[in-house]
């Protein structure tokens, strides 16, 4: 609904060519690919006897539906339908998106995945917290590292003592 009022306002002030969100075509393409993969994957399944429906029918419907929706999405995108990004307490949609920060956060998570078995949760968790603070533009790195280490070690002991779940100790095996 905001789309509509926005469009009305821009028409009043200055006539602009209709906006298009071409990135949305990428989303439509991705949905179509997932739909096709789903259909293909289902076609490879064997159908057991005494099962008139079998494991294929539902994925066929879901994958087919996804392809149809992808086509519809592409059509409305080309007709100038623009998505409305989700608002929130800390979200400022008036400025452009800052994808560098997002990329940094993804990198921090990838480091977490790569190191958690080797270094253990108590170390990797600390890196994760401090790294995420850094990615989000924190100026107090030393404090973040201290907070991160405290959080990580405390959560390790919390899970071990409180819930009886020993998280991977990693290189701190025997120390914790």
């Amino acid at each position: 609904m905001t789309d509509r009022t926005d469009a009305a306002r821009t028409e009043e002030t200055a006539p602009e060519p209709p906006r298009r969100d071409l990135a949305q075509l990428g989303l439509a393409a991705a949905l179509a690919v997932v739909g096709l993969v789903t259909v293909y994957d289902a076609s490879q399944l064997g159908v057991g006897f005494a099962d008139p429906v079998g494991p294929r029918v539902f994925p066929y419907v879901v994958g087919g539906g996804l392809v149809v929706v992808a086509v519809l999405l592409a059509v409305i995108t080309l007709r100038g339908d623009v998505p409305e990004g989700e608002g929130g307490e800390d979200v400022d949609l008036t400025q452009g998106a800052d994808w560098v920060t997002v990329a940094k956060l993804v990198a921090v998570l990838l480091v977490t995945i790569a190191t958690v078995d080797l270094l253990g949760w108590a170390v990797t968790g600390g890196i994760l917290f401090a790294g995420a603070c850094w990615a989000l533009g924190s100026q107090t790195l030393i404090r973040d590292v201290i907070v991160g280490v405290v959080l990580a070690v405390a959560s390790w002991y919390g899970f071990f003592v409180g819930l009886g779940i020993p998280l991977t100790p990693g290189i701190l095996d025997g120390i914790l």
């Binding site: 989303l27 997932v34 929706v69 519809l72 979200v91 989000l136 924190s138």
Partner: protein, 503 residues
């Protein structure tokens, strides 16, 4: 035994000192996480699920009840003090609540929200007690075709009827259904969409999916659009209300409860519609007095509607095993984690657990009021946590939760994948609710579909050979036509209000 007697037994079981401690812990944790900006009740429940892993089911559910109501209450605090509601259910509370706060009546706004939540939550839970068992009795008799139809109804409602864009709703729904396909086919044991990975063949951990979409997706989306100018936060003392505030609040509380409960029990997107209806009703009844400048009725009504609808969602969840909100989906996932099969038999087979859960909802609701009125100033200070540390913390706990379940880095990878999906959904305006319902209901639907068609020998008429199923399909057809007219009015109303405010 009748429902009242069973509820009293449940209260007795829930009221041991140890269980009360878990309830209080749940309320505190839930409020803590719910107050944090950017976290709604569904995300609070998903993030805190790992904390209940090592507990017995009963204790876990007692803690859960506390977390649930705590998270709901935390959301209203944020919208009153910040005027930027994190979720659709709090939008209406924020309108008058923040105006009250700005004119120095934050304490009264928080008080009417807290007491209204208590009143609505208590009445709502008692209504669940009296509605769920008869519904379950009826539901035991209905077969696979009707179940399938009811699930289609829930999905059509959330994806195609309620959202702003039908295409986006359906895109989210089918994505969710696809995610639900991943893993071994239950009948033939063949892996689907697993690409040779044993991790994927094992079925996705629903908690990882939910935390990825809700928590990580939100954190990444906020990171892309982080507000660089600090929000204005209104200082607040201990909530209290005078005699006049109370006189003006009790009507809206009861009307809000009456509106909220039925909407919570049907798949109507949770509290969005009833809070809106409650706001409009109160504005009409108050004849415009103070509305737009901070009228206490405008906080009391929608907050009550919000909590009553939160209680109402337990009716379909407990009686049918069908979740109708995002939070209910996460709860259902938690139930399944304990090996509990939701459905109409639940009230018979796990009777103790269900009644203890309902009793804990009442206890959690009371504890919420007792703990949070004095603690409100403390909660308000949480809003001042610097944003980099806040979102780093969310990331930290999201990863911890995903990792702790199986201690497998693969789960953090899944978390990241679903986080990126959540980010894309927020960027492209795809609604989250149809997706998460698709993930949960997809496998259940397929089961009912195959059962229905096996009975009929593969004939499609097997889907409509129960009267109830036919009625539900008729209802779906009706729903696809009527709301087009209703929505036009719902869209016009806020526009009209905006104009009033401007003039």
């Amino acid at each position: 035994m009748d429902s009242a007697g069973l509820l009293l037994d449940g209260l007795a079981a829930a009221a041991t000192p140890e269980n009360l401690m878990y309830a209080a812990l749940g309320v505190l944790l839930g409020t803590f996480v719910g107050v944090l900006p950017g976290i709604g009740p569904a995300m609070a429940v998903a993030l805190l699920l790992p904390a209940t892993y090592a507990l017995e089911p009963t204790q876990a559910f007692i803690m859960f009840a506390g977390i649930y109501y705590g998270g709901m209450y935390g959301g209203s605090t944020t919208s009153i003090l910040l005027n930027t509601p994190g979720e659709s259910a709090s939008v209406m509370t924020a309108i008058e609540g923040n105006k009250m706060a700005k004119s120095g009546r934050a304490a009264q706004a928080l008080a009417t929200a807290a007491i209204g939540s208590f009143v609505a939550g208590t009445i709502g839970t008692l209504l669940v007690v009296f509605f769920a068992p008869p519904l379950a009795d009826v539901a035991v008799g209905i077969g696979a075709p009707s179940y399938f139809a009811i699930m289609v109804l829930a999905l059509v409602m959330t994806a195609a009827v309620l959202g702003a864009s039908v295409v986006r709703g359906l895109a989210a729904l089918f994505t969710g259904l696809t995610i639900g396909l991943v893993g071994l086919d239950l009948n033939t044991g063949q892996p689907r969409l697993s690409f040779g990975s044993t991790h994927l063949a094992d079925r996705l951990n629903i908690v990882v999916v939910a935390v990825g979409i809700f928590a990580l997706g939100e954190a990444l989306w906020v990171a892309a659009h982080l507000r660089r100018t600090p929000l204005q936060i209104i200082p607040v003392g201990r909530p209290w209300m005078g005699r006049d505030d109370l006189r003006r609040s009790w009507g809206p509380w009861l009307r809000g409860t009456a509106l909220g409960f039925p909407f919570g029990a049907i798949p109507a997107g949770g509290a969005e519609i009833p809070t809106f209806l409650s706001y409009v009703t109160e504005r009409k009844l108050a004849k415009g007095r103070e509305f737009g400048e901070g009228a206490i009725e405008g906080v009391a009504g929608p907050e009550a509607a919000n909590n009553a609808s939160a209680a109402g969602m337990f009716v379909p969840l407990l009686a049918l095993g069908i979740p109708v909100t995002a939070t209910a989906s996460v709860m259902l996932a938690a139930l399944t984690n304990y090996g509990i099969q939701p459905g109409p038999q639940l009230l018979d087979e796990q009777s103790d657990l269900v009644w203890t859960l309902l009793a804990s909802l009442l206890i959690g609701n009371t504890l919420l009021l007792v703990l949070n009125l004095p603690l409100a100033p403390l909660w308000a200070r949480l809003l001042r946590i610097p944003r980099p540390q806040l979102y780093a913390g969310i990331l930290f706990f999201a990863c911890l939760g995903a990792y702790a379940t199986n201690q497998d880095p693969f789960d953090i990878g899944l978390l990241l994948a679903f986080g990126l999906l959540g980010l894309a959904m927020r960027r492209f305006g795809l609604p989250v609710l149809p997706l998460i319902l698709g993930v949960i209901l997809g496998p259940l639907m397929e089961g009912e579909l195959r059962e229905a068609l096996t009975i009929s020998g593969g004939d499609l008429s097997g889907l409509v050979d129960e009267p109830l199923a036919v009625v539900v399909y008729g209802l779906i057809a009706l729903l696809l036509v009527v709301p087009r007219l209703v929505r036009r009015r719902v869209v016009d109303e806020p526009a009209a209000r905006d104009e009033e405010l401007v003039s």
